[in-house]
Structures are given as C-alpha cells and as structure tokens.
Symmetry: C2
Subunit: 347 residues, 2 copies
C-alpha cells in the first residue's frame, strides 16, 4: 500500500508549496489567504487552484524572525507526507487488508537536489568516484535507545507492567535480586552499577545487540509505516506508540559535483546490507559497470540485479550460500541503482 501511495502524499505536500519553491525570495513566514474571485471583481484573473495562497510581503518585518530555507520546506513536506501515509494506513488498514508494517526509503529529486528520506533499516549510499557517501542511517532499538527509553520513562503505562525502561546487558535472574548489576537509563551513554530491585526484573524495553536487538522483545526496527495493531506476543501492549513514522531526510546537491557515468545512488533494503557492506556494494557496482559501455542504459539495471543475486547467494546442500560460503540473506532484498551522471551522453 505504501509503495503504491507514498509518492502521492509527497506530491500532494509539495504541490502546496511549489509556488513558494519557484520564487527565489525566502519563503514567507505567514501566508495570506488569497481572496476568491467573486463576480463583482471582473478585472481580476481567476485563480487556477481553488486553495491557492500568496506570500504576505505587505506585513512589516518582525524584530526577531527566523530565516527558513527552501530546502527545509521540502524536508518538512516529505516528513508530513510520511505522517499522512501512516494516517491513511491507520484509517484504511481494514478495507485494504494491511495488517503489517514496513520501512520506507524514498528519494525525491527537485531543483537540482535530491532528498533521501529514510524511516527504518533500509539504506542509501552515493558512490562517487569510487568514494562512499552514506545518505541515511538505520533506526533500530540500538540507535534509538534513548528516544524509546525517554518515552517509556515519561509514559510508563505504555510499558504495561511488563517492561522496564532501563537497559541491562542481559536478563537478570531472580537470585540476583539485591545484587549490583550494570544498567543505563534514558539519560546515560555510559554504564553504571545499580542494586537490583523487584521492578528491574521486568523485561528491558530495549534488549539485545546488532541484528538481534529488539524493542519490547518484538521488533528490530523502530521507524516505519503501519503496524498499528502490532502487540507484544500474548499481551495487550501495543508497539505502535514507540514506533516513529518520521523519516530522517538528507540532502544531496547534484550541482555541487561533476558526476561521471559510474557515479550512482544505491538504495537497498536490509536484505542487501545485512550480508553486503557498503564497500562490497561499491566494489561490485564498479565491477559490473566496467563491463558495459558508459552509454548503455542497462548497465545500472545489471548492477542492481548483481547486488541482489550476490546477496541471495546460490542454493547449495546447506541452503543459500554466498561466494564466501556464508549464509545468503534470508530477508527480502530490493535494490535500486540510480545513475547520477545524467542520461547517456558519454564518449
């Protein structure tokens, strides 16, 4: 559902500000509602959009006024598009039979820049002149620990008497009650010892490491769309209040660099990145690109295919195996490879 509709929400949000983005002057702080054309004003040209609004430059400037860039307006539009998508899923999940949730990674190209919006554990990187430029970061119980703990601390009722907002390096045994154990709370980055009380025997809100890190022992990713009905196994505790649907948006200015035909943006789901590092992806990409003419448009498709195939591996006696004989990715693998050097006009 989100893969089909998210771009409509982004379009809708951007449509509301497109007239502002086209104007080189800074975005107006306040918009004046444009008066509708009424029959008594024959000299006024009718407005194309019903709800159009014009900048309010007539107002006096204020003593203290924050400058807001065009870029941050686009960022806000994308953030709100993700919220709207999540709202739509909430409303229509029964009729659309959408019970699950998903990560979302979206790229918007606008006025010479692209905006990478990521909510979840997908990842985007730019490969430019062989160099890797990360364009997103992953949102997991580990990277979002303090946000989750802060919410659990302020709203303990969301923890349903089953979880503690404190983190411990492992499960506590009952016989350890009264002993001192390592912990950290929502404010800490370091670890310290505390004497274990009855309340600390609850399961930690955030628990585990790396790919095994879980929030409420349920979910390994803490941003995304949907999952409105997801509950902790055999309990009545909802996961959704801790999930955020808001993406982090990073901006890449295409006009800042001269891009060559081997410069690409790679977007992939965790199925790719779990088994293939940024550097391996860059090496594979350049390896495949070398085999095709710079003008050949299918070379980018071939890179994407190769990345998927190599991350899935080959079916052997003991399951799907990578070139290094490690297990292939068991997760879904989706990859986009987008050329940054423009259409094939290379010699």
């Amino acid at each position: 559902m989100a893969s089909k509709l998210l771009h409509f929400h982004i379009r809708d949000q951007l449509r509301e500000i497109v007239h502002i983005l086209q104007d080189p002057s800074p975005p107006p702080i306040c918009l004046q509602d444009a008066s509708r054309t009424v029959s008594g004003e024959p000299n006024r040209a009718p407005l194309a959009e019903e709800d159009i609004e014009v900048p309010n430059n007539a107002l006096p400037r204020f003593h203290m006024e924050k400058a807001v860039s065009h870029e941050s307006l686009v960022v806000g539009a994308i953030e709100n598009a993700f919220k709207e998508m999540d709202n739509q899923i909430e409303k229509e999940r029964v009729t659309h039979h959408v019970s699950g949730g998903c990560c979302a990674l979206a790229v918007v190209y606008l006025l010479g820049k692209f905006y990478v919006a990521n909510a979840g554990d997908s990842r985007a990187i730019v490969i430019r002149n062989g160099e890797i430029i990360p364009m997103s970061r992953e949102f997991t119980p580990e990277t979002e620990r303090q946000r989750l703990q802060f919410l659990g601390f302020l709203r303990p009722e969301l923890l349903g008497n089953e979880f503690t907002h404190l983190e411990f390096p492992r499960r506590i045994q009952h016989k350890e009650l009264g002993k001192k154990m390592l912990y950290r709370d929502q404010t800490m980055n370091g670890w310290a010892y505390k004497r274990i009380e009855e309340d600390d025997m609850k399961f930690p809100l955030v628990y585990g490491e790396g790919k095994k890190a879980r929030m409420m022992a349920t979910i390994g990713v803490t941003r995304g769309l949907g999952d409105h009905d997801l509950k902790v196994y055999s309990s009545n505790i909802y996961i959704k209040p801790f999930l955020s649907c808001i993406p982090e948006v990073r901006i890449y200015d295409l006009t800042q660099y001269e891009h060559c035909p081997d410069d690409v943006l790679v977007m992939g789901t965790d199925g790719l990145w779990d088994v293939t590092s940024n550097q391996e992806v860059a090496n594979m990409a350049l390896d495949v690109l070398m085999r095709y003419e710079p003008n050949d448009p299918c070379r980018y498709t071939m890179v994407a295919q190769e990345l998927v195939m190599r991350s899935r591996g080959v079916l052997k006696d003991r399951g799907w195996r990578l070139a290094n004989d490690k297990l292939g990715s068991g997760d879904d693998i989706s990859v986009f490879v987008i050329p940054l050097g423009g259409p094939g006009n290379y010699t």
Copy 2:
C-alpha cells in the same frame, strides 16, 4: 558550590569501580556482594572499604550478553556524578544560599585517556599540531529543540497553559489567526505551514536564534546544574523539568598520538567563545606559545591570560572593545589551558 564539590562526586563514583578498571578483563555484568569479614574467619584479611564488591566470574555466561567497555563505565560514573551534584544542590540550596545554576565542564584524566564532560554552553577543544579537534558541543534551546519539544508534547502540564511545544519562526499576531504559518513540531527537522489556531497563539517553548535563543522565554542554555527554583518571569511555571544535568562525555586517547609541547586542551566558558572562534583561539595560543621556551611551564598560563584579556578587550569611550573594535564579551570568561605534551622535558 559545584566548582568546589563536583570533583568529589566524580571521585566517589570512580572509587566504586576502580578495582574493576584496574582489571584488564571486561567489567563483570553482575557484582557479587563480598561477604563481610566476621570474627570467625581469622585467615581472611579485613577489607579496606566497607562496601567493596568482587566480580562474579563464577556465574555461567549468558546466551546474549552485551559487552561493556571500561571506558563506558567511566562515562557512566561521570554522568552519575553530575546527577549526584545536582541532587546535592537541590538538597542544600537553602543552607548554602545557592539560588542560581551553572553550566559545568569537567575533564577527568584516567589511565592514559581524558574524558571531557560538558553540560551547558562552555566548550573544550584540543589544539594538536595546529589542528582543532572539538571535544564538546553546546546544549542550547536550538541544539536541544527536539528533546524539549518532545517533553512539552508528552507533558503539556509543564507548559502551564502559557507555552506551546510547537516552534514558529516569529511571534504570531492575533490578526493572523486562521492564516497559514510556518511551524515545526518535536518530530520535524523541516518546516511546513499550518493553519493558526487559538492554541498556537501561546508563546513557543523554544524561540529565537543564536545567542538570543530562549527556552520558555527565560534561559539560553538547556543543560547544567542547579536552577531548581527558577521560574518563568511572573508565573508559576518551573524551568527545571526541561533542564538536563547530564553531561555529554567525549573521550580523547592521549596514547594514540605523540604530542608536542604546543599541543593543548583549551577549556573556556561562553564568555570566551562568544567573541573568539576556535580558529582565533588556536592562532592566539600558538602565537603566545612561540614567545616562550618549550620547557617554560608558565607559557600555558600566559595563553590562558591572553585569551581572557583579548576576549574582554580594552576599556574605551564606548565600553570594552576588542582588537577589531567589536564589543568585548560581557559574560564571565574563564579559561584553562592544559598542556598535552607532558611535563617540560623538551630540548
């Protein structure tokens, strides 16, 4: 009060873990309480500390157990020392006649590393071989906007019906009710337009830019110690719930580099940094150091003095003026300059 007592709290916290830090094996997850020496056990040496505890290596290792480094134990100790200091101020503020609050910047040297702990808008930088390495960041309504807004959103009662957790680029006028205005909430990094409602006419929790940024129109720094009684002017709204006493701790490994006698750590209050940039501080420092023999221990004191004098400026007809004729710093200026090259054994 904090300048006299904070280091005692840090010492107390570190004392509890010093036996663990001295042991090269990873810190134990759980401590076994050491049995107190009783008269029936004459062969056991009495323990020096009453509350000493020994690592519990006898317990079986657990399936999933997070590795905790010695460093992160020191970080946790410093974080908790700041909390304890803040608690002590809360308890003793009446007898000690401490009504105000302060930022705190502390450096702890331990086992070849130093730990820079910053809560507030002071700053520490390392100058190494002429290069500047920031060792802290400032905590202000701007840098902590989302933490403050998130708290205001979850606990609206703390805003006392006077403030809105939403941010607007400037004050809204009553006649703008119903119009669309730029805003951002606790989840957003970008800006978007919203239709102004009655509730949005409240003063924004976070407001203003740069040195003029304020939280609840009162305070320009969002971490530090004390200020338990601070209220919004002519209201009953407390500021303290939004202030954090937790420092951010950064680690510098002295053994990683060969330091020369001109390599220094500079710690300064905002009075220094408001008028003097990192680069200017580095230039001034190297300038002064050049004038003294590398073995002369007073050369570092002279750097600190020079930095203070140049940031204060010279009293002229129109107030204290810097070399560039701009106004000198009106804030308090405290500076420490600490040599990293070890004692004067240079030739």
